[in-house]
Symmetry: C2
Subunit: 338 residues, 2 copies
DNA sequence: GCCATGCGTCGAAGCGCTTCGCCGACAATC
DNA sequence: GATTGTCGGCGAAGCGCTTCGACGCATGGC
């Protein structure tokens, strides 16, 4: 294990000089710097993370809390996590992976031990039990998702209210008058996950404003439950011609079942999905969709966290990404529309 | 920030005593221990991670390298990652998330800086460029996956050779004489990912031994590519009645397309998948499958890493999990079999 | 009654780094 | 030519913890 002191000896300078070369916090003459850098390379020196953290009270680690749940669409989480890790690296940070399992205890542990410099929290509920702790800790925090009360918090999220509105509008524009919303699994609503409720609210408002009837049904991602949900929808509203799907796992079942029932997409029914681009383009019908910008969310979250650590960011800052609807092959004019 | 010294003062003992209470490395009388524990609770003390790492040269962190690729089935990766994080916590470790992006440089950085005590590497290629470095580092390493040469390495993986054999055998037992293998994306084979090649080898061997014809075609996870692949398979081998699918993303397209072509599962063709349980049970037909024990793999990897850290594990140790085939609704006797 | 033994506790020496204050040298200013 | 300032570098003091050796005090064998 090569130490700073050895590098210093090898380069014929003092330890502090090496440190300043590394951090750039004081000016060092070019020749000295080069000598030191050469020694570092030659000896294969890597600063000891623990010592560095102890001396500077900065760990250069960002903690990322991911949900443990299996009822969320996993690829989005993974995409966010990878974007977080990648972006963090480009800012000189590593990422500590925390699962929701420990819940608030993890927050306490990490903030208490100085393990991480900042925290990024995913899967935020409207009234999340971790929020009070996050508030109390003087540790910078960024939420991916939007709780009910954002006072003093930094959040990044897709603007799901606008997303819902956009979907309603698109279908309304095409002449659809009865729209069904295939939502997330019931459990997601029960725990008051922000994005699900917001999407719904956006849909309802805009639908009401445009004089469109809206029916919302939560749905698990399996064929069985989709089958049941679909029957109930058409029983209750036989005139339904537009679908908005928010549960990615339900997309394939929905398309399959519609086809089996002899309902053509988009001739008989139109489908709009809220999902990652890849899912939209790889489904059996290329889906009109609002993309979930997972990478962008992860990237922004890290950048906000880094800005807060640098001290150049306001305490409260809500970043809502504007939704974009891409028209593909799954939506078209409502049947009977001229 | 509460420190050890403050706890010591509060409890009226020396700092070392508090440390020994925490670590249990020396015996402490019950009354003293209780006093110290009480002080810890009362002051809300959390040991500083950096100081601890510096003094003990143990960070209590496990590094997990996940692939950055998008052509692998992501939920499996995520499941492994979460199992790793959860198991690690139960052993007192946290998990550092590294993406494959940095490649060998990440290995050097982490081992060099003492950031992590051990390393768990996913998505290992047969001739992985990280292996030499991992070998050189005196840092315990566990691979999830099997490289070509396992000398001196600790690996955990599903026994994919046996998995392939099991699939071939199952279909052969049902009377199928022509089997098609819908494989992973071509890129996966090009980079010589161990599990893909092993499965294929297991399939080929057993198929040959049982006198069954086997046709292997790589396939992306989209409908388009599945469509093309399927046509080519039936063009070349019209008598194909058995399918083995290894690419999870291809499962839904395959089932959909077979149905559209009027081929009933399992009456006309049987399908066996290699995929997580959840995928098998949620597909439009409940799939006969060999499960990918993602959680088990993550758990085992952590346990091996922890054992190596404790010094009680051999350097070389290959753990192959035995595959289990669960018969569900997608496989049945070959047509024309009595 | 004396030495060996063991248990519970303390003190002190680092672990490898950052950072503050200081100092010498040299340039610029009047 | 004395004064001020800037630049480049050094030394030393910690950061909060672990751990080793030492010490005091019972205990027990002889």
């Amino acid at each position: 294990m090569v130490t700073l002191a050895e590098v210093a000896r090898h380069a014929g300078v003092s330890a502090s000089t090496v440190s300043y070369v590394l951090s750039g916090k004081r000016s060092i003459s070019a020749p000295t710097r080069e000598r030191v850098e050469h020694s570092i390379k030659e000896l294969g020196y890597h600063p000891n993370a623990g010592a560095r953290a102890l001396a500077s009270s900065r760990s250069n680690i960002l903690a990322l809390m991911v949900p443990l749940r299996t009822d969320m669409y996993v690829p989005v989480m993974m995409e966010i996590a990878i974007a977080v890790a990648t972006t963090a690296r480009s800012h000189g940070y590593d990422v500590l992976l925390l699962t929701g399992e420990e819940g608030p205890a993890a927050v306490r542990r990490v903030t208490g031990s100085g393990l991480a410099d900042a925290m990024i929290v995913m899967d935020v509920e409207l009234e999340d039990e971790r929020l009070p702790l996050l508030h109390a800790a003087r540790q910078p925090t960024v939420l991916i998702g939007l709780p009910a009360d954002t006072v003093g918090l930094t959040c990044v999220d897709l603007d799901f209210t606008a997303t819902g509105a956009l979907c309603a509008e698109h279908l309304a524009d095409l002449g659809h008058r009865e729209i069904a919303v295939v939502g997330e699994a019931p459990a997601v609503y029960e725990r008051h996950t922000g994005f699900a409720e917001r999407t719904l609210e956006g849909l309802r408002r805009r639908a009401a404003a445009l004089g469109v009837r809206l029916l919302h049904r939560p749905c698990e991602g399996s064929y069985e439950s989709m089958d049941g949900t679909l029957s109930r929808i058409f029983d209750e509203r036989p005139g339904t011609t537009g679908f908005v799907v928010q549960n990615e796992a339900a997309i394939d079942p929905l398309l399959s079942l519609l086809r089996r029932q002899g309902r053509a997409v988009p001739e008989d029914v139109s489908v709009v999905a809220v999902c990652p681009e890849q899912v939209a383009t790889q489904a059996s019908v290329r889906l009109t969709s609002v993309a979930i910008p997972a990478q962008e969310m992860g990237r922004r979250a890290v950048e906000l966290a880094v800005a807060k650590l640098a001290g150049g960011a306001p305490a409260e800052q809500v970043t809502l990404l504007a939704p974009e609807l891409t028209v593909r092959a799954s939506s078209g004019p409502a049947p009977g529309t001229s």
